[in-house]
């Protein structure tokens, strides 16, 4: 896949930071506003898929490759389990909140909920990109 015309590339380059920022906002504010790790991760993945479609798979792979996505997905999953084990190690229970709760409505509040949503966001982003890459690699032979 060789990428698209200059018009599409320019629009994708201009739209990418806003889409990425919106997805990151949805993930980070998951404990305050509607949204969370799952929809936010999909929005971030959509921004990167847009770059892949506009610039072609070869140039996009240098930025976010198949291996990057694979590693990031595992890191997200492991981060969630390790955060859950904190509660178990302190003798409460698995996935129990051990951090201070903070003030209601502030960005740094609710203990481990934002961190768990951050892990979910990373994991969903990497998973969607992995699925997209797998489909691209499977059908690349037919096109050339």
């Amino acid at each position: 896949m060789a990428g698209m015309t200059v018009i599409v590339r320019t629009i994708a380059r201009l739209l990418f930071p806003f889409t990425f920022l919106f997805g990151a906002y949805i993930v980070i504010h998951g404990h305050l506003t509607p949204g969370g790790g799952f929809p936010g991760g999909v929005i971030i993945a959509a921004s990167i898929v847009m770059l892949i479609l506009a610039y072609g798979i070869e140039r996009a792979q240098k930025k976010v490759g198949f291996l990057h996505a694979e590693v990031l997905e595992s890191v997200g999953g492991i981060a969630i389990v390790i955060l859950g084990l904190f509660g178990l190690l302190l003798g409460i229970s698995f996935l129990q909140n051990v951090f201070p709760l903070g003030e209601l409505g502030q960005l740094f509040s609710a203990g481990n909920l934002p961190l768990l949503y951050l892990g979910v966001g990373v994991k969903v982003t990497a998973g969607i990109i992995l699925i997209f890459y797998a489909m691209l690699f499977a059908f690349r032979g037919e096109e050339e």
């Binding site: 909140n97 609710a110 690349r140």
Partner: protein, 99 residues
């Protein structure tokens, strides 16, 4: 023979499930531990709505249910996502190799 055995197994399990649900569980449409008469506020949903901001510290009640009260469930959800990604990558790799 195998097919008939499998079909019989499925029918047997289905009959067992329908029988169990229709006899042993709560009546259809009723919430757990919710009595319409006197203790109207005693349902689980009402308890979570009232206590979630103090107990979990999250302003979003959905988040406090998803990761606070039902953390195991969401961990399973994440595992399902992982399994889905792994199976899609596996299938499409085999698909691409054959051509």
């Amino acid at each position: 023979m195998q097919r008939a055995l499998a079909l019989g197994m499925v029918v047997a399990i289905g009959v067992l499930l329908v029988f169990t649900v229709s006899t042993n569980l709560l009546p259809f449409g009723s919430f757990p531990s919710r009595q319409i008469g006197e203790n109207f506020d005693n349902s689980i949903g009402q308890q979570i709505l009232e206590n979630a901001p103090q107990q979990t510290g999250a302003a979003n009640v959905v988040t406090s249910v998803v990761w606070g009260y039902r953390g195991y469930d969401t961990l399973g959800e994440v595992t399902v996502l992982f399994a889905a990604v792994v199976s899609v990558v596996m299938i499409f790799r085999a698909f691409g190799r054959r051509e």
